[in-house]
Assembly symmetry: D3
Homo-oligomer: 290 residues x 6
């Protein structure tokens, strides 16, 4: 079951899966492995098990869960009943697992930790997405991710219906207050950025006020503008001023409570760090039958 | 500034710091690095900056933050104003950073992601610890951690005043329902476990009912007992039955709302998965002056 | 053939096998590989071969040998005639290998080095175990292992019938003379240790004299006591004094000549560094037919 | 203190030191580190310590020991009193270490494991070398090394006064019985080998009998000949037959008891697998003063 | 000497330097290191050496050269006389090196291989840049790079005055003929791409004909257009048609002979695979004085 | 399809293939993968494709190309129509690939970069080999290789009909001018080298003049001599002087224009750095049908 098939609308690198699963299993197995199961369960016992969502949510991480089991014992058989990006109801069975009981039990927690964490991110993203339904606003993430899990969490954001902001410092420019200050103003910063950027690099610039937005409009070299911590009234004026010349991204302290109102201002994107750095995990369990 | 000095009551491996920082920086720098700063900030500009807690909490991760800056540019100077494990008020300055502006800006987000995530864990732990003050109950973690961050999150739990449960499947035995079922009952499971375990391995067993606890008391080979999803009334009876013969650990759905009542039952440990898998990050920022 | 099947009573991590085999093959293949076989043996020649114990002993390492051959050429077929932990007589055939001759020859030395080294450890362990038969004394290992091979050698100790002491500094506490001295005595050291340790961490303390043992008994916080370099007379008195309150481990210069007498003192464990750091390899060979 | 200075007559790669030390420390520190020392020793306690040879022998591994301490805490100060390759008497102090007590204790066992193992190899080698003093025979090693430690053990052989055989399958050709059989005889095997080998690759061929040696002499393409398991009488005849045309290497079951007699036959090299795969460790200890 | 200082207008990741230098040194040192220098040069001999350009060119790779020497022996002193991106005349001294002779000689070839290869790329790039001087055309690279050296070669392109195209498949979209065919035409492909892309991802589309370019202009969702293998007459018409609506990139078989004429058509970018996959190395040598 | 079958006369380590392919794919996929194909091509589209040589040449790298596709999606089917080391005409189909279109497209560039680069090396080598046909001169490579690709490029040299010089500093000795100068002359350098070298290490010495060659002949300890930058007249005299006592290697600035004449002097080897460090890639493409 190729990772290409389990994540249809986003990309989860087979290399990243391999590395993440190896690292996570290593920290759980330690040096001696599942000493409880080896002591209490004979080697020839088989187990059938089911990954089950205990709460409703949007699933992300099934290819990682599958890879976790098969990394420990390639003979474990996996049958997927869902794919990443699906909204599921409570008690939905996501995947069936069958194989040596010792291996199934040894992989259980690691597989669940992947699935719970990433489904937490996709479910949180989806909560935002649901609240902007009917508007043109898209939800996107930030670089405020859990260290070491950037690619996986950005993937989960896609599974939840969100869009990805920059993956890192290198795939787009985002000019912030410090850059503007050192460069000597908005015009200078944008000119330097455009002179350095190749034709496949977008430039976004952060503004705090409508005056700054005006200046960006005058200079005209930006591909997108980030409205930093603006109230909705100002935001609405920003939308009018920009008049569709470039996408506007609302950013700063956006919550599930405020997102609907923000979307009504007409901004193109609303970004949330919370969906990656603080989303609670989705409760997923492994029901085992031996 | 050795990691040994910044984390006085717990251990943060220099090897783990090196590996985690390298991995996290790599995912943020990507292949082209901080293209915005290179374009807009001349190479000879210096920056002075301060890591500041924007909310009150318990700090964890300063050695990682320091290592992140110095990995990018060894000439960056770090002055610590706090150490891990300290409770800080809002707006407390944690660490001063001084060095090449491009390097400071390039390391900023990665350093903050470490500090925000781990301080989130230690702050959440401390919330539980605060609520059991005056009782004998200790707060401990579980293996429900974020994949790849086990050692770091367990360290943050210690910083928050909590105790560590198993680090993995290999450093203690925890006999659960499936093990008991396959082994043929509590006695058989405990006997097999004790026969296999060396003299430096503890054995904990999970029980759902007081009858099971009675049987564990009769068999007498366990070092600790986990009370799985018991209500407080039953828990109190369990404490009476055990009569200090071995530590009791309350587990299952424990929240900040229920922890105080649980502690009053007299259990020795209460474990929470939430403090590692779902703790919201602590808001930490970098104030920069160039 | 899953590693889970070839090592029934101990755990050999598939991750560790993969890493160890890759590292060992890399150092033998170098940059140009088996230049002799490539020069002298046509690519289409097949080989049938048998791993044979040239001396009697206890086998450990078959999953590593199998993985070595298959890492070089997945099409090599392996048939196991023995499993790890088995005592075999001289000239016992352990495993049959069939596949491309070049690959079989290129993997030969690496596979034998694993099998010879680990079977050396398990055979040495078994020698000790044999000499304590009929007593309650168990043989255990130490942290005096070959650098980089800790997990594999500890596994081999299990295959030889021994028990594992700590896998590292982190899975149990062992309070030694330096700790006692700095802490200000046995009581202070034990109290500090117990205050820091969670409920799943055992505490062992090293004593040189019966007076020290008495103090440990008085303090009462230890899970086990290590008798350091005691003569058998003192050891016997220690057993009487302890009266089963906690396991006693004899340690220090224990040899095949002295182990039987030590076991008769009634100690629960006798630990040997020699079985991991100095056990001579077991002579295993590959008989090839092309 | 550069590794280049501590190993004057052989090469110990800084890259290999870094990798080996990291791997070995990781397996001892595990995920939680030296929990005993953290619990019992305050963070500000310093330690002075000395690496001391408890038995006479030839030292190898000091750069690894030094690197182990400094990897854990760069502020640990090292003063070398010996260099690798030196024969030392019992109780010789090899190296002084000073720094944070917790770090010194945490690194102790790993440093000793390196030093004990490699000094075991160099001491064993030196035992052979001593017995061939006054003859032209040189002692050399084989590829029968401990998995993962090839480069380090070959280095230790040099420290003990021995010479290195091939480091792997790729740096010289060694034609064995299987190669000869498949190639269709000694001449065919040598011709194929010479045709494939570049001008910087030596070719050695293994012979069991004087007839085979005669054939090798006739063909004339070999750079060296390995006399496999010959008795000393035959060996002496082989030396006469070869008459210095190429170096002869005695191989197969050579022990400290037989080496002197073998050397008297006039062979140029005698190789021993025992010095790397079965040499007992040299007893080295860390004397600590806090 | 921080990498941040030696590469002022582009980014060379310290992490990438560390990894590339370690890998390259490892393949040259092998398992036994520089056996010639160890045999012939006493350990206490010092060397002074100079990296010298034997041909005129544009330099790239000095931070890698410096790191190579210091990785082998941190006590080697480096004095830079040039920085990356500088055009130098024949016989220009680029960097002075002083330290242990054995280490200087052991690092020599690896340092030169980095410098020769990357300066080859930057010199080749500069040749193209020189030929388009006075036009608005910028030279850019492609993804046709040497495997494993993508980030380093893209950096060298910047040093040579070129611009970077995509670093990989993930930092911008490039819609090619196959994508158009499967999607069902240019409009469908562009619409799908825009729907999937976030606001910081640019979309370039490849066209073979002016009709296709017309369609792209009509659809209007592209950020840039790649003119694939067009002759200069057609290219000129394309420039007229596009009328500055988006940047045009000429691509396909562009050589030093044709670049000037292409630039005159008014295209914004001309991309060359040759500058990364086939640029001959720049001749750089190490002059040593011992 | 084992790597052992696709490279019959040279060795391409499965470990090296795995590492090189993983590294190269990682740098092309980045964190988000092939975002263009995911956006425009439905997941269930299959592709059939053919690797085709667009120019005549000698092929090297097919096992790497195959591994690249299968690393991304193991279900991709590969049918080889050629093996490494074959001379092919323009438009020869080398390999058929069939599988998920997204995976085929994502792997395309990486596979081509391997094949183009290594076939460039083997084709360049073959050009030299062709020009020395009929003489006894063999073409060999140097250590002037692309950083990180030493083993692969040396393999490609073999595929092109060349021979391998040293793989690194450690598998043979090459005494150069600096070694001679420090050692105190040719005799001293050779004596030191021979005293240090084991019996399986060849010693080559570099000479600039016939006088030096004379001295090497007098000393008599060398296995080969490198004639450094000699003109063909001198070279011819060197051949006469050496009279077959050891192989002579011509080195220094050898080009396709001069090689034939050099070969006529009778030297045994002519080495070229150009074939590895500056060979232009061979044009190979992937023709896709979806």
């Amino acid at each position: 079951m190729s990772a290409f098939l389990l994540c249809p609308d986003a990309f989860l690198s087979p290399l990243e899966i391999e590395a993440a699963v190896t690292r996570a299993l290593a920290e759980d197995l330690g040096r001696a492995g599942d000493i409880t199961s080896i002591a209490t369960i004979p080697e020839d016992v088989s187990a059938r098990a089911a990954l089950v969502a205990r709460k409703a949510g949007v699933i992300a991480g099934l290819p990682l869960a599958a890879a976790t089991f098969q990394k420990l014992a390639p003979e474990i058989e996996i049958t997927a009943h869902a794919i990443d990006g699906t909204s599921v109801a409570t008690k939905t069975e996501l995947m069936a697992i069958e194989g040596p009981a010792r291996a199934v039990l040894a992989a259980e927690r690691t597989a669940l930790n992947f699935l719970g964490h990433l489904s937490g991110v996709s479910t949180a993203t989806h909560e935002f997405v649901r609240r902007v339904a009917g508007t043109q606003t898209r939800i996107c993430c930030t670089r405020k991710t859990t260290p070491g899990l950037r690619a996986l969490e950005k993937y989960a954001v896609r599974c939840g219906g969100g869009f990805n902001h920059r993956f890192g410092l290198d795939d787009a420019m985002l000019i912030k207050d410090n850059h503007i200050a050192v460069a000597g103003g908005i015009r200078a910063a944008l000119e330097r950025a455009r002179a350095a950027a190749g034709h496949l690099v977008k430039i976004e610039i952060e503004v705090d006020t409508l005056d700054q937005l005006r200046e960006v409009l005058d200079v005209g070299l930006a591909d997108a503008v980030l409205l930093d911590n603006m109230d909705v009234v100002t935001m609405r004026k920003a939308v009018e001023m920009a008049a569709g010349k470039f996408p506007l991204e609302a950013s700063g302290g956006i919550t599930l409570d405020t997102i609907a109102e923000i979307a009504k201002t007409g901004v193109d994107y609303a970004s949330s760090g919370w969906i990656t750095h603080s989303a609670p995990q989705l409760d997923v369990a492994l029901d085992i039958e031996m």
